[in-house]
Subunit: 482 residues, 2 copies
Amino acid sequence: MTHHSPSTRSPSTSLSQTETLSLSALTFASLSVLFNIFYLQTDGEPLIASLSLSVLAFCATYSMIRWLGSTFIKAGLKGKDMSKIQKREIPECMGAICAVVYLFVMLVFIPFPFYKDIVAATSGGGNKDIVFNEGEDVGDAVGRGRLLHRFPISKLASYLSATISLSVITLLGIGDDLFDIRWRHKFFIPAFASIPLLVVYFVDFGVTSIVVPIPLQPYLGELIDVGGFYYVYMASVAIFSPNSINILAGINGIEVAQSIVIAVLLAVNDCLYLLTPSYPHPATDSHLFSLYFLLPFLGVSFALLWHNWYPAKVFVGDTYCYFAGMVFVVVSILGHFSKTLILLLVPQIFNFVYSAPQLFGLVPCPRHRLPRFNARTGLLEPSVTAWTEDKQPKAVIGWGLKVLDKLKLLRVTVDEETGRFVETSNFTILNLWLVWRGPMREDRLAIEIVGTQIVLGLFGLFVRHGLALLIFKEDNWSITWR
Amino acid sequence: MTHHSPSTRSPSTSLSQTETLSLSALTFASLSVLFNIFYLQTDGEPLIASLSLSVLAFCATYSMIRWLGSTFIKAGLKGKDMSKIQKREIPECMGAICAVVYLFVMLVFIPFPFYKDIVAATSGGGNKDIVFNEGEDVGDAVGRGRLLHRFPISKLASYLSATISLSVITLLGIGDDLFDIRWRHKFFIPAFASIPLLVVYFVDFGVTSIVVPIPLQPYLGELIDVGGFYYVYMASVAIFSPNSINILAGINGIEVAQSIVIAVLLAVNDCLYLLTPSYPHPATDSHLFSLYFLLPFLGVSFALLWHNWYPAKVFVGDTYCYFAGMVFVVVSILGHFSKTLILLLVPQIFNFVYSAPQLFGLVPCPRHRLPRFNARTGLLEPSVTAWTEDKQPKAVIGWGLKVLDKLKLLRVTVDEETGRFVETSNFTILNLWLVWRGPMREDRLAIEIVGTQIVLGLFGLFVRHGLALLIFKEDNWSITWR
């Protein structure tokens, strides 16, 4: 989406005095807390360290987005905002900054949850036999409350594999933004990025048994080992999540806002486990792990939203969408709550299914399907695909289009005299919303879509925790070792 | 180093029939071997799997460099070869392809050395208590010979941290190639990339004791814990290695060829440990680990050299130099043979020290210091920095320049009448070689420099293994647990 023509006005690349002061204060406060935790060994460490690092991540991302904007434009990473009267060129692919800051934070964070006191003997060279000393530090912390719990070092491989998946998707996402990869190729980018996650899962963990719903247990037993299919399932989730976020896009702020909503809802779900009455819940570790990945993600995302919200000063790029989707994949796969993720992706799933006729070529698909900007009113209207006289839909497709029109799931314009199709609105949730609610301003559309997503997500969590007990004994996937 | 002007002739982007046949045969053979190892559980697995994957990496890199050339050029990743009569534009930053292929191979490789049979009990949720079953498979393999040895799963974190360091340096390297980062900033790129390595070293390993040379042992003891300084030392090696390769650059093939020489010498060193009479050596694991990282590196590098050797069809980019340097860093730090790496970097160290006057601004430093191409003769000559009448060196610098001239370490041209400096050759090993040996063709220069490097490297290894016993009891850094 980069257009090569000289920019008319270059955006501001420095921070205002207020911004500098606020960011410096936040940075100083976070650093103090971190110093305190690391050197003075105060209590409650890892979660507070994660929070502080997330605030630092916010500050770093906020400043770097501002500072590097013109550098990105110079390197050709720029795009024109088509839904504005003045079509200024603004930096594209700013999600890359988020991803890089995020990765650093996740790496620097490692000593907080994983630090261990070891008493060990060496067998020389590079070999080692480790004797864990689970005494003092860790034991005390566990005694005082589970929030203080530190992970066993054996969980580090999972943590690192997640980080590798996220760096790989960042690398490939940047490649996509640079080279404008074809749709049918880019669809598989997340599949490649899930390799590290799945390989380490295979080597380090290897559980492929799933709990059978109670009604089916008389026939299948309590647990069933689905073997290789479990990897196919995980890979499918990994492919779907990033792509579904990438196609619910096209208006200012929508990519980041929807990702923030999903992240917050996942974090709320994590907190439900950490604060449950039957505490400590067996899945506490998984949900703590999940929070450690979600908090810094929220940090970098809020900094990006600040600049990407209407009227956008930067674009996020496919990099951000892939990256965000992959964050959800790694926490939900490693935390074994991929069903919950699917529940929170309902709007994205709807958008994907609804888009299918265009994605799979049943209906012609223009290069961009974002809503059409009406310069006279300043509002967005549904964008359309035109049907020419010699290019009419096949009979069955035409019938389908008319049914969708009846169901108010599409706006179809038919020539009343000839009965020929003139145009149909494009198959995205954004256009559909505009069909339902009429033309509206870009930010209003983003707010309404995200609002709907919040309502659906909260309802999903309620269903998950309220109704799951009807079909499963416990309210999360139990894990057993084969 | 990208110049934006229309390309006159586009390079070939497809494989010839011979190439397709050879690469397909190689690919098929490697895949058969891998299939055999993975499914039929034959012997001698990990090292042979690593070799097969390296061959696959060669094929993949070779094809992708050819296929993606025009895509890179379209995205603005291109440069002009200044040392040719026809200054064609060719793709730049092709090292990114090497790095991405390499990372995938390293991830896909994980199940081969780390696959384990576990008998384990779960304590629910995400917790786990693992009981290793070191019996059957692993035990047998160890019994039959150490080459078959598989790593304990606890070594996986080191392996993954190395992979993360390599993905981070790839990300930052691509950033450098895209944005043309200033010299004083890019110098620290490897420092950032070494964070994952050092953090995981800190959390998972944490050894900071070094063996004291025998003459000093009466005063300091056998071992000395240097604490934080060990991390400073490791970070310094991590910063130096990639940068030193990045500044010994500028003629076709030199970046890749020097990296291949270092990798081969490190691999020879590894083999010395694996084939030693006092076998199994305590450091066997470290050197096997090192081979697993070096073999695929050689695979991707040979494919790149094929296209980058004189006359180059592609440029490698800073990405490749950083990436190559970082591969050496991760194997030598995790394998505890960083001193050996330093020994093999002698030409690079010389080039860096020799470059210092220009790098640190004592002598003016032009944007590019590569040798000057004489279009009339078709040969390379030393490039020079001119001294104008009003810009003469300060007295002490002028004295230094004259001393270097006397020592034949510089070519200085002085105006005989006025005694003023007219020009001095640029401070790089390539220019110095041309001062010594006279003008020569580009490939000849690359061969002579790389030849010198091979001789020095072999001598270094001889010194390392022959003389080290005089000052250390064992011929490698022993590891103990604090």
